[in-house]
Amino acid sequence: MTEARDDYVLDVKQSRRGYALNRLCGSLKDADNRRRFSEDEAAYCDAYKLSPEQKRAVLERDWTAMLDLGASIFYTFKLAMLDQKSMQYLGGVFTGMSAEEFASAMRSGGRKFG
């Protein structure tokens, strides 16, 4: 599993790199697209012109790799919700915790830095 960087700031370069990936995830706001994606994920990735690396990250649900390939969390969260995965689950993925451990850290006042 890919190790996450500290921050993923969606600058213009990152937006350009992640365009196809974010466009795919953003399309999931439409119920018909959610159904079409679920019927054939690989074909859907091809239709949205994902790079091979982006396609692999989506199909394998490598959430950190998606970020490394230009994704924005506000887009990939739509994919996570389709999988019925919470923001606490994703927080756990990025920080090497289970969803429960991450939620517990939040209930304890959140994670402190510096």
């Binding site: 706001k29 924005s72 969260f77 606490q88 920080t95 939040m106 006042g109 994670r111």
Partner: protein, 288 residues
């Protein structure tokens, strides 16, 4: 003339809306947050505005990567509630205030704020959750019309905190020059500290949040002096949403009083807060 009667800043995390939609506000996880809202909600219910100007950001629902306006204003007669990927929230659609929107657009552009206009806009949790914080049980319709004001906080470089405050000042001038006797509330939404992705996910900086909650009232210039990099470093990549509180603060006069505030960790992966200010200049019989 229209007048700004109060300003409210509040987090707009989707799960706060979901807690209301799913009747979980009495659960131990959510009760402290909603208990903290109580005093503000009672006061706001006694001081209902005709129009709420809601400063928020869209989250990949009405705005995508194709076009990212830095500032925008909704000019429609109504706004549907967005399906963000898991079905729309079960709340009423939003009634617009197109005459006030049009006036604000013209005044702001004459004031050198070259904003985008949205004639069609589905509003997401960034706008509807603050409405629910104001009015938890709207029934068939919300109790006020709405002017959506959109700020890009997702794509870097976001507008500076100082520019957001200046926009708020211009919005205040525009509202106060609108020739109808309307009571207007301004909502600043988003924040407080949170970071959703990366190894710093779950970041909460209570010291920074409490500094911000304090200074927003009488020392906003201390907050407009911070760079976007400061906001990201201190409050997290998504904590930069706090710049939208400065739009609200800028719209209000210097003569404000804090009605209530509350701060709670966690709401989802964030620190949630509410701060409510009355604009004393707007009281009957007082002229600016």
């Amino acid at each position: 003339m229209a007048r700004i009667t109060w300003g409210m800043a509040t987090s707009h995390v989707p799960s706060i809306g979901a807690a209301m939609d799913n009747h979980k506000t009495e659960d131990p996880y959510w009760k402290p947050l909603f208990d903290g809202y109580e005093k503000a909600r009672t006061w706001m219910a006694e001081h209902q505005p005709d129009v709420a100007v809601i400063v928020y950001n869209d989250h990949a629902n009405a705005i995508d990567m194709d076009l990212v306006p830095t500032f925008g204003i909704g000019t429609a007669e109504s706004y549907d509630v967005a399906d963000e990927g898991w079905g729309p929230r079960p709340v009423p659609s939003v009634v617009g205030a197109p005459d006030l929107s049009e006036h604000m657009v013209r005044e702001l552009i004459d004031d050198s704020f070259d904003i985008a206009t949205f004639h069609q806009l589905d509003v997401d949790h960034g706008l509807t959750v603050p409405l629910s914080v104001y009015c938890p049980e709207p029934g068939e319709s919300w109790p006020c019309a709405v002017v959506p004001v959109l700020v890009n906080v997702i794509q870097y470089p976001q507008p500076t905190a100082a520019r957001c405050y200046a926009l708020g000042q211009a919005i205040g001038r525009a509202i106060r020059s609108f020739p109808q006797d309307l009571k207007v509330a301004v909502f600043g939404t988003g924040g407080m500290s949170h970071q959703l992705s990366g190894a710093r996910a779950g970041l909460i900086n209570e010291r920074f949040d409490r500094m911000f909650l304090d200074k927003i009232e009488h020392r906003p210039e201390a907050l407009t002096a911070l760079t976007r990099e400061d906001y990201i470093a201190e409050a997290g990549t998504e904590g930069i949403e706090l710049i939208m509180w400065l739009v609200m603060r800028g719209a209000m006069s210097d003569n404000i009083a804090r009605v209530h505030d509350t701060y709670h960790v966690p709401a989802s992966n964030t620190a949630a807060a509410l701060a409510l200010f009355e604009d004393l200049d707007s009281r009957e019989g007082v002229t600016a």
